[in-house]
């Protein structure tokens, strides 16, 4: 990614929170900087803070990777953002120069770290492929899970024996206790399902009793599936293990067949839960028409390893996690690419999109968020909330989490003419994640 392709919006999107973006904005003025230099993809400068010595900030714009001597724990800090903004908006303020000592030091230590990382990965791959150790681990896990599952089956049957009518009075610990035991039994996925159900039972929104029974039954289905897992086809086995919460080693996934394509980075959302940030990036393949989900994680304020720029194209080989409905993928290899002008092809009608969802759900009953690309829909405001309608007259309700402002933005963009929308369908509502209007692409953030 060459620097000239970065825009102000994209730089600000790297900010960890709104305060950092604002402060970074404030530092994007030459008068705040004692020195500003660059050499090829490396940029560095010294920013006068409140202390005596200025802070040293540097950026490797190829990644981008940041480093600053200020004490801030945010990543990238406001100095990094300010420096990057200066580079993008006022490039003439930087002069080419030989890197200072503290710059070459950092570059050297990064190169060293990357070499160590590669070594470590090679060692891990060796370890992972040791068949004896693998088999031993697998059998231990099998025992633990089997015991946990018996317990959960009994718990579920108890619920319907006693009746669900009183369940609305139960507290969170009613659900949390069995969830914790599932985690101990090495089936954290089952624990997550239980905690999701706690959310439904405590919030009591809409037809929650129907939703709760559906989820309970889906959990039951999962347990039954696990108990006869060997008799099931391989993709479904993989799905059941994933739902249990068994991680598949990345090396195993990477060993599978890759799909090479030009992938459009259609949406990106970051969700935070207890100091762990997860980033969901949806890709759409130009030739394959395939949707792919990249899931990345970062702890606390650490940056994500890879950057994917929303609205750009990625020339890459993707490998998909095994599943009866494969969406989650890893990037095996990525290459430089330029922008492509053609629009993406999705579904012309909502009926066609829902038909695809139905097929996916039939193959993968625990499907929660299904990517949909709708070619031509009209955003509308109904008395019940926001909707989209296609040219045949089919309608889909939009997710309740969509803010009023975002709803009006969709209407403003459409001007009464159909838009192309990409988003997630959860069986009840559609969450728009990005839009194309009059040939321009817009990402819809979480507000």
């Amino acid at each position: 990614m060459t620097v000239t392709q970065w825009t102000t919006e994209q730089v600000l999107a790297l900010a960890p929170d709104a305060a950092s973006a604002k402060n970074g904005r404030g530092l994007a003025a030459p008068r705040k900087w004692v020195s500003l230099h660059y050499q090829q993809a490396i940029v560095w400068g010294e920013c006068q803070g409140s202390g005596k010595t200025p802070y040293r900030t540097q950026i490797d714009t190829a990644e981008p990777a940041f480093r600053c001597s200020c004490p801030s724990r945010k990543f990238p800090c406001k100095h990094g953002l300010g420096l990057f903004l200066l580079l993008v908006e006022q490039p003439t303020t930087l002069t080419e120069a030989e890197p200072a000592d503290w710059v070459t030091e950092w570059l050297a230590s990064r190169a060293e770290k990357q070499a160590k990382q590669a070594e470590k990965q090679a060692k891990q791959q060796e370890k992972a492929s040791d068949p004896v150790a693998q088999a031993k681990r697998a059998s231990e896990r099998q025992h633990k899970i089997t015991a946990g599952i018996q317990e959960l089956r009994l718990w579920l049957e108890d619920r319907v024996r006693q009746g669900l009518a009183t369940i609305q009075q139960e507290s969170y610990s009613f659900w949390d206790a069995p969830a914790a035991r599932m985690v101990d039994a090495q089936a954290p996925g089952l624990g997550r399902h239980l905690r999701d159900m706690a959310g439904i039972a405590l919030a009591q929104k809409g037809r929650w009793m129907d939703d709760l029974l559906t989820r309970l039954s889906q959990l039951y289905l999962l347990i039954e599936g696990f108990e006869r897992i060997e008799q099931l086809p391989a993709p479904m086995q993989a799905d059941i293990r994933t739902q249990m919460g068994w991680p598949i080693a990345q090396e195993e996934v990477l060993a599978g067949p890759a799909i090479t394509d030009l992938w459009f980075i259609a949406s990106q959302r970051i969700e935070e839960e207890e100091r762990l940030r997860s980033r969901r990036t949806w890709l759409q393949g130009k030739t394959s028409g395939q949707s792919a989900l990249l899931l990345d994680f970062a702890h606390g304020n650490q940056p994500f390893d890879q950057a994917y720029l929303l609205g750009t194209w990625l020339d890459a080989d993707l490998v998909f996690y095994p599943s009866a409905y494969p969406v989650r993928a890893l990037v095996k290899a990525r290459r430089e690419t330029t922008a492509v002008i053609e629009p993406l092809q999705g579904h012309d009608t909502i009926a066609a999109a829902i038909a695809m969802y139905s097929r996916a759900l039939a193959a993968y009953p625990w499907l929660e968020r299904c990517p949909l690309l709708l070619n031509a829909v009209l955003p509308l405001r109904h008395e019940t909330g926001w909707q989209v309608q296609d040219l045949e007259g089919s309608g889909l309700p939009l997710a309740p989490s969509l803010s009023d402002k975002q709803g009006w933005q969709l209407i403003a963009l459409s001007g009464g003419h159909p838009l192309q929308l990409f988003g997630e369908w959860n069986g009840k509502s559609f969450l728009p994640l990005s839009a194309w209007a009059e040939g321009v692409f817009y990402g819809i953030g979480n507000e």
Partner: protein, 510 residues
């Protein structure tokens, strides 16, 4: 979503059974046709709880997979007509987004004016935020409507909260549009063709609510003329007190009106000006005709009612009459007045009269007489820009940098609120004096400096940015540093906005 379930659908039966519990009521597997029926039958040899849960899983999945989207009637709204104006440049759009996110929102009117000047419109994605701002800040509505484009009008028509922005094209629109839209329309029309605006208002006057009549009549401040008098005179008898008040105030601003003539007649009997002395007699009563002409019966607390009536009469009397009747020059008249027992009443009354009649000579004269107290906002606003700058410049020059008197700061702060751009000379004088004061003096007037720095960036020509940076940028003064940084930041933003539009116009002329 359409599901077509009746009350004995398999799913409903399962949910009911699950609610009650299998130990209280034995569970019957639902019977139905087709593959679903066959699947359910096969569960028969399990324990009841297992039957229920398995059946639930099968039926739930079956329903979800078979779901079809709901068919709806087509939307009632026609698509938006095409726009004739281009959208502003991406750089300008980005700056607008920053403003709308709350950063230096007070710079918004300037952005809007520049966009209007360049015949550009706002990008559609920013319309909701902009229309929201207009909902909360009525004084910016006219500027917003000028750059919203067809898309903005179309969007506003769909949200009652934005009804002010729908625009009025035809007489039918006038009769059916919201109060907010009509008010905006009147304000614009009064500036273009005041007589037509008056005629238009009269077509619906008798049906409008009192609150609307008050607001609409108040727009006559714009383009006020003698031809408005007959209508305003009838409004003096309106059944709403607020409307009567507005009408009386407007007539008092027309020195040739009958109302002003009536005030002169009343005052003539109460004022004696002879040989260098001035005597006023308090009115004995406040008759109905006086109240009709806008004299309020009840005084503000702490003031006697007869002096209050006299003050109001003075406030509605043409200033030229005082000079004619006394035969004195303005300066001499004020000497006499200040020496008399009636100084306070005269001063208060004259202040209002000056504001109503926009008489800058009188304003200047009064300001000079009051130079050691906080300068008066209303009087300053009457002066022309040059007069204000000359006056403040004189006062400022006379100050020693170590201590700038409070009333000077107050005067400068008031000047920043007048909404006009200062001449470069005056601006540089102020910047230099302020910088000197901050650097040399040990200022203990922090809050005044902060207030000045808050309003200052909107008054300077953005070209002065380099000078401002040079003088103020490195300064670290306790309590003031942050205000300085914000001042420079705001000025920088204004500068960037001007640049963004200037660059765009260069592009289009290539």
């Amino acid at each position: 979503m359409a599901s077509g379930t009746s009350s004995d659908s398999p799913w409903q039966a399962i949910v009911s059974a699950a609610l009650v519990g299998t130990e209280r009521q034995s569970f019957q597997l639902p019977i139905t046709t087709g593959k679903l029926g066959q699947q359910l039958e096969q569960l028969g040899d399990r324990a009841p709880e297992a039957q229920l849960l398995a059946a639930a899983a099968i039926v739930a999945l079956h329903q979800q997979v078979g779901q079809l989207p709901e068919l709806q009637s087509p939307p009632a709204l026609a698509p938006c007509p095409p726009d004739d104006r281009p959208i502003c440049s991406p750089r300008a759009a980005h700056l607008l987004r920053r403003l709308l996110q709350g950063e230096n929102l007070q710079v918004l009117p300037e952005w809007l004016a520049l966009a209007a000047q360049h015949h550009q419109r706002v990008p559609p994605i920013l319309l909701p935020a902009l229309l929201e701002v207009g909902r909360q800040q009525p004084q910016w509505r006219e500027a917003i409507v000028a750059v919203e484009g067809q898309r903005g009008r179309w969007l506003a028509a769909q949200n009652p909260a934005w009804s002010y922005a729908t625009g009025i094209d035809t007489d039918l629109d006038w009769e059916t549009a919201s109060s907010a839209a009509r008010l905006l329309w009147l304000e614009q029309l009064r500036q273009r063709d005041a007589d037509q605006a008056r005629d238009l208002l009269q077509t619906t006057w008798s049906q409008d609510a009192a609150s609307d009549r008050t607001q609409f009549l108040a727009t006559f401040r714009l383009g006020l003329r003698l031809a408005d008098e007959p209508f305003l005179e009838t409004a003096l008898d309106d059944r709403s007190k607020e409307v009567r008040r507005v009408a009386a105030d407007l007539l008092a601003r027309l020195p040739d009106s009958h109302l002003c003539q009536r005030q002169i007649e009343r005052l003539t009997s109460l004022v004696q000006m002879q040989a260098g002395s001035l005597t006023l007699t308090l009115p004995t009563d406040c008759y109905a005709e006086m109240q009709r002409d806008g004299i309020e019966l009840k005084p503000p607390s702490g003031q006697g009612e007869r002096a209050w009536w006299l003050q109001q009469m003075i406030a509605a009397t043409p200033l030229a009459w005082w000079l004619r009747s006394s035969g004195l020059s303005l300066a001499n008249l004020l000497e006499v007045a200040w020496a008399s027992d009636w100084k306070d009443t005269l001063r208060a009354g004259w202040k209002s009269a000056i504001e109503r009649q926009q008489n800058s000579d009188w304003a200047m004269a009064l300001l000079n007489r009051m130079s050691d107290t906080d300068p008066d906002q209303d009087l300053l606003s009457v002066l022309s820009i040059e007069q204000r700058e000359t006056l403040m410049g004189q006062w400022l020059q006379a100050q020693d940098s170590h201590l700038i008197q409070n009333f000077i700061w107050q005067g400068l702060i008031l000047l920043t609120q007048q909404g006009s751009t200062w001449s470069n000379e005056f601006a540089q004088l102020v910047l230099t004096k302020v910088t000197e004061h901050l650097v040399e003096g040990k200022t203990n007037q922090y809050w005044l400096v902060q207030d000045l720095l808050k309003g200052l960036p909107l008054c300077l020509n953005p070209d002065l940015l380099p000078i401002a940076n040079q003088q103020l940028s490195g300064l670290e003064i306790p309590y003031v540093t942050k205000a300085i940084q914000q001042f420079l930041g705001t000025l920088q933003l204004r500068h960037d906005i001007h640049q963004a539009f200037a660059a765009a116009s260069v592009e289009t002329t290539r």
